[in-house]
């Protein structure tokens, strides 16, 4: 019994409640006329979409920079990369990879500057990160209107200048990863092998990085900055590396999201993408200065599972759309739960 108690204490009550809630949704689905195979395929697809965005949070958490409320910077870098790849008319897998390559320089520059800023303001980083993120997104809204894009699929019809709010990647690199080696069973179930392989590769790469020399140093900075300093590690350098890595992965994450979702969402779309990713990581069991690959996978699966199942199942049970309310309460409740834990954020 003590082993279970220790597991519960470690896993945390809220996570257990969410886990059983999700399981009950899956069980209730068939009784309420919701196709189970379609739901599972939908959950897998959304898992693939969000996994890398959640993974992007890991480096900064490990390095003790706390939860990256400013991930919008990485997402904006990804948007720049994908819009440029469309502008140059790059298609198929080449287009998708081109978008990532084009996004890389932006994400590195943004990440570097953002890292330097965060090092200057240790303590109360989260609020500052959030508002730097928001103001940067707004600045980009102006940029989307000014930058000289002229690919007709992207530009406003009447003005001929400035980008549309949502741009379809239909004939460029839509579902490039999803359909790669996809396995279809029956009409509804699609197993997005390409997408999940890409996510597995990214997660594997991150796992390998965290076990490399710099990765180990970064984890040490996260768990005890004084220890790292006494062992000759430059704390600020490690934190900057983690921010740059996090911003880069944010860019890759949004591009993977777009190819699976089918649309590039511009203007103020990046801001509301950050909170769900943070909530997912926390539901997976991460703390404010420790996050593992398991946290990413479990967290994303639980959170996205919840988001896909609640609209269909709850609606048919209660005939009302409670899913929006449940999503808000669960995701913000989780972040609140993590913030009020005893672990102190790096001072």
């Amino acid at each position: 019994m003590p082993k279970l108690k220790e597991f519960i204490a470690d896993f945390g009550w809220p996570r257990i409640i969410i886990f059983f809630f999700l399981i009950s949704l899956f069980i209730a689905a068939p009784f309420v006329g919701v196709r189970l195979d379609a739901s599972i395929s939908d959950v897998l697809n959304r898992f693939g979409q969000y996994a890398i965005l959640v993974l992007a949070l890991v480096p900064m958490v490990q390095a003790g920079c706390g939860l990256n409320f400013g991930m919008a910077l990485g997402i904006v870098a990804g948007l720049l990369g994908s819009t440029l790849s469309l502008q140059f008319g790059m298609k198929g897998m080449f287009g998708f990879l081109g978008a990532i390559v084009l996004a890389t320089p932006f994400s590195l520059i943004f990440g570097f500057m953002y890292g330097k800023l965060l090092n200057k303001v240790k303590g109360e980083e989260m609020t500052i990160a959030m508002y730097v993120g928001f103001s940067f997104v707004m600045l980009m809204c102006i940029m989307w209107l000014i930058l000289p894009y002229n690919n007709p699929t992207m530009v406003w019809g009447y003005a001929g200048k400035g980008l549309r709010t949502t741009i379809s990647v239909e004939n460029y690199w839509n579902k490039v990863l999803n359909d790669f080696l996809a396995i279809r069973i029956g009409r509804f179930f699609v197993f997005p092998t390409g997408l999940l392989l890409f996510v597995a590769a990214a997660a594997g790469g991150m796992w390998m990085f965290l076990r490399s020399k710099t990765g180990t140093a970064m984890t040490a900075v996260g768990s005890n900055p004084d220890y790292a300093r006494a062992s000759g590690i430059s704390v600020d350098k490690m934190r900057t590396i983690s921010v740059v890595l996090s911003t880069f992965l944010g860019a890759v994450g949004i591009i993977v999201y777009e190819q699976s979702f089918g649309f590039i969402q511009l203007y103020s779309a990046p801001s509301p993408m950050v909170f769900p990713a943070i909530a997912a990581l926390l539901i997976g069991g991460a703390s404010v200065n420790k996050a593992t690959m398991v946290n990413v996978v479990v967290g994303t699966f639980l959170f996205q599972g919840l988001l896909t199942m609640t609209p269909s199942v709850i609606n048919s049970i209660l005939q009302t759309d409670m899913s929006e309310v449940i999503r808000i309460i669960v995701s913000n409740g989780m972040i609140l739960y993590a913030l009020t834990r005893k672990t102190k954020v790096t001072k």
């Binding site: 707004m138 103020s268 509301p272 759309d321 929006e324 808000i328």
Partner: protein, 165 residues
Amino acid sequence: MSAVPASKTRKMVVRGLLLVVYVGLAAFMLLIGRQHTILIDNKSAEDGSYEAIDGILVSVDGKEGAEYYSGDRDKATVQGQSHKIRIEVFSDGTVTEKTFKVPLWEDMTILSVPKLLAGIEPFNEKFVPLTVVLPAEDQQQYTSLPAEEPAAEGVLEELLPVLSQ
């Protein structure tokens, strides 16, 4: 030297009193603030017991009046329960004033001026709308509520009136 500690009971009494005043104030606001709409009607009755008067000036609670000809109906919004209505008939210039009460929880009442002039009580009754099936057009579509987190749209919506000014 610190303030003499008020005795426990005195504090209790004051707090109890404050609570009563609080609830009383809310009730008082309800009483004097309660808004009603009064439909002022100038039609003749089917059974001929009273006739519409052609050309009258009606004003409620001293607000500026409105002219009614036979068959007209208009509304006046008033606050509070007891009101005064002033009717001036153009043809013979007679002015009648009458005070009447509107029950607290009545949203809308219908006051028939001819009935009032003819002295038939009750001239002010509850308004019962014809039972009409509401057209479905204003069925609220809200499947995906625009209420996710700090999207800037919220700001746009709120600031649009400024833009339009």
